[in-house]
Amino acid sequence: MAQNKALLSIENVETYYGNIRALSGVTVHADAGEIVTLIGANGAGKSTLMMTIFGMPRARTGRIIFDGKDITQLPAHEIARLRIAQSPEGRRIFPRMTVQENLQMGASLDKLEYFDEDVRKVFDLFPRLKERINQRGGTLSGGEQQMLAIGRALMARPRLLLLDEPSLGLAPLIIKHIFEAIKELNKTTGLTVFLVEQNAFGALKLADRGYVMVNGIVTMSGASKDLLANPEVRAAYLEGGRH
């Protein structure tokens, strides 16, 4: 089975907000070293799935397995300690802290022993952050904030990187830059990336495989190029939406 070599596998997960079901029977997996994307419209439950992986909110039924370990019931900070990092929806950088302090917060797990080395890697990936090192997070532009959010996640030396809509509200050129950085990261370090996106075209171009989510249900899955060619996907997400 594919689950055996999967780094992250989400099996039959259902998540509720009160009595309202946000996810129903979601089964998704990401193998080590691949970029997987989850596309869908607003309110489809993409971000809910992302947060469910972190136990905020917790899955009511089903299992979430990371590297052979059931993490469904773990508290969020222990999930982070298994080296799952995320750049959450809305970026959620610390606005009053400087870029450097934000990156230090990302390295909270490691007592700063790898800090210099990791900071250099982040700056290689996003040179803009280096120019802004003493600037407060809240004063960065949207694109820089997104770079910072991804950089902060990378500081945790993750084995799995969860990205929630990194393209949200950014100019096409910046989106291209960020997607290229993700691609490069995956290629050079073999980092597994789970990408949630509304920007279906860009996400599918970037990813190896993709899932399509509608109203909390995964309706389609397959290799990115197949999804890109799929008439239904094209009709729903790509036609007219292409940048």
């Binding site: 972190f54 905020m56 900070h77 959620r92 009053r96 802290m97 450097q100």
Partner: protein, 468 residues
Amino acid sequence: MADVQTSNPESNFAKAVKEGLVAAALALGLFLLIVGFRTDQNIRNELVLNQRWGLLAIFVLVAGFGRFFLTAYVTPWNAARAASKRAAVAKEAKEQSAFRKSFPRIGLALLFVYPFLVIAILAAYNGSLMGGLQGSLKYVDNFGIQILIYVMLAWGLNIVIGLAGLLDLGYVAFYAVGAYSYALLSSHFGLSFWLLLPMAGIFAALWGIVLGFPVLRLRGDYLAIVTLAFGEIIRLVLINWTVVTKGTFGISGIAKATLFGIPFTPGPGGFANLLGLPNSGVYYKVFLYYLILLLALLTAWVTIRLRRMPIGRAWEALREDEIACRSLGINTTTTKLTAFATGAMFGGFAGSFFAARQGFVSPESFVFLESAIILAIVVLGGMGSLVGIAIAAAVMIGGTELLRELEFLKHIFGNDFTPELYRMLLFGLAMIVVMVWKPRGFVGNREPSAFLHKRKLISSEFTKEGHG
């Protein structure tokens, strides 16, 4: 007067001296007859002319130096501020001026010599050492110790509110726990102050955790309501648990603190006796002054250290974004509880000091107004800024103490006027003025705890008001 602002500091200084002298001369001419001489009736109903050179000198000096400082410092400063606002470039990351950099150090040095300075000045004024000693009681006790207690409390609360962003309206409860711990344990078991001081801190920290658990999931307004209730619960328990706390009567005759076993009592074996000094109550007050000063500095030192450690960073990150914290692997439960416990611990220290100083504790001292004043000091000073908070405490507490002194107001408003009654009114007015003028407190800048090449201030223009 209306000449163009000169950028040359030398000429500016000379100009300031000149204007200061002119102002002093004007004041002399103006006040010589109004203030310098005064006619009084003596017993035989004759008019006698009193000469008041000292008072006149004060008027002249205030006018002269006031004008000097205005011209030399305030006007250029205002002009520079206006210019920098016009420029509006590079608002962030202003270099600290030399004055700002050295201000905490100067302030600290002043605090350390303050009691001796007061005694020396008063001794010179009264012409005798004894007069200086007795006269200094008021300044060391009512001003020095009183302000420093609030500085310490506000710095302790700053850990909870300023760093961790948890709005705590019941902070006075921990103060009460510390005070009653010391009062009860010392009167029942005769334990010494130095043993009970850390114990009071530990008890208060435990109560901090007790409060912390139920409010872990609360934030903002909801947290404020629960902490407010917690403060009231502690106070009501103190009032009603009469078997232990003697209710509203309070506990009196609490043992005083000793200087490593040397008591501050008159007679043989006492501090004054051992050092061959004249008997006076001042030594104990001066000792208490240094004790609270050191306790307050301990609070500041711990705060500064913690800010650079993972737990302090976690507090600050928690204030900014709780969800981001959790996904970065920070255990928000322990982070919040340590913030509550650490803040409460310093409240407990201050409480046990308070009990030792007063010799009497009653629930009266731990009403909600106290929590509100401490919170007001933290907010006025600028959340997270130790210097700002210290200034705010000096202004608020020293200001209300000063209001007791304002006898001259009776001449304006009539003899029925008692300034004390208007303290809270003025207190509130001052707060409104400060909040309009500086919405983020006196020092709204947050100094980064990590920096690459040089330390830069983060302008308050960019910092949000607390949203804890």
